[in-house]
Amino acid sequence: MRSSRSSIMFILAAVMILIMITISACTNQKQIKRQDFAMGTAVDIEVYGVNAEKAVQKVFEKINEIDRLMGVNIQDSDVSKINKMSGISPVKVDRQTLYVMQKAVHYSQLSDGKFDVSIQPLVELWDIGHQKDNDIPDEQKVKEILGYIGYQDIEIDEDGCVIFLKKRDMGIDLGGIAKGYAADEAAKILKDQGIKSAFISLGGNIFVIGSKSDGSPWKIGIQHPRKPRGNVAAVVEVEDKSVVTSGDYERFFKSGGKRYHHILDPDTGYPAWTGCISATVVADRSIDADALSTSIFLLGPQKGLELIENMDNTEAIIINDNMEVLVSSGLKGKVKITSEDFKLK
């Protein structure tokens, strides 16, 4: 026989059990949240797990090591040595630098030369985001510098772990890929320490391990390309993925109604005006997401999306200059537009 009292008792018991589960789920997990500055950007790490403290420490050591190897502004980094010896002699480098360079060249080939780490002389000429006077460089000078740009003139000797830039005035800049590599290495360290849930942001390059501590997927916002940092255009839910965005709003200046941003086209020598204002890639590895987000930005919405559709486990969210959001097939229905400024195409 069921009386009202036993029903109520049953409900009370069920509620108590639910509350207990919720509380234990929250307290069992130790959470560590840290912000530091490395690779010229803010690094945020959020880790849940028993070895969290030690793991986070190791991650920051690793990121600093990668910066010392690949920082273009660090005097004795591998990258600086390679640039100094361009056209003179091959340079012996760390295995990690070699790996990142091989990946970079791979993406140069994949993007028909649009993604090109030998863009450095052009980056230095424009100096977008650093110079105060916002000068557009002399057209003749841009043309001259285009002559030293080309990934085909990068020689990589895998066995000898040696890299050589064939032309004297060449230079490389791993800014479009090194953060991705660092995020992958950070995730590897955390996983090796037994961490099952973590969030890593290397200046907006995001890598999430597992799901959130409550078991739900991580909600990652895509920066609104025309509003201050922290405003979101769309949200995507992910687990065990890297999310990287390239946009024309990070470093730029305006002149004559045009937006001179930091993503330079190695074919024209000018900022890439392809109709893309933001390109996000969701992939298993951050090095791929990093290189691909820049690649599709440079290729433009149409070609960029085609490139992504031909790759496994790789998806993209592109915002074009009509404020339309284009989503690759694997993310259809999984991207939520959160700002009225945009509509799904």
Binding site: V15, H130, I206, R229, G230, V232, V235, G247
Partner: protein
């Protein structure tokens, strides 16, 4: 249905509806409530932006001469002046909604607006 079952059902319904309302009310709260200032990753100051007639200027002077002057008013904050080379932080201007940040990379100063609850875990930019 017995009388007890009906009471139980009503109780369940009330519990579910109130839980739903509470979580919804908490999540919908999108007003700028706090501003958090960090220097080199460490919390420097946290202020309640809901205070009426709030007007405050905070000068952050670091040992190596790096200076940021932060201005805080009811519901908003900005970097007013800085001696960093690029002044990206100053040019960002006022921020006033939860999640918005001003980052001064050279001086490692970050100001962030925090709401009651943030419904996303991170931003890709």
């Amino acid at each position: 249905m017995k009388k007890g079952d009906i009471i139980a059902l009503i109780l369940i319904a009330v519990a579910i509806i109130s839980a739903f309302l509470i979580t919804n009310l908490l999540n919908k709260e999108k007003s700028p409530d706090f501003v958090e200032i960090t220097v080199d990753g460490k919390l420097y100051d946290k202020l309640d932006l809901r205070q009426q007639d709030l007007k405050k200027t905070i000068k952050i002077q670091q040992d190596d001469g790096k200076i940021n002057i932060i201005e805080i008013e009811t519901g908003r904050a900005r970097v007013k002046e800085a001696n960093c080379p690029d002044e990206v932080c100053v040019n960002t201007g006022w921020i006033d909604s939860p999640g918005e940040t001003v980052v001064c990379l050279p001086n490692k100063v970050v100001i962030k607006i925090i709401g009651e609850s943030e419904d996303i875990d991170g931003i890709s930019y």
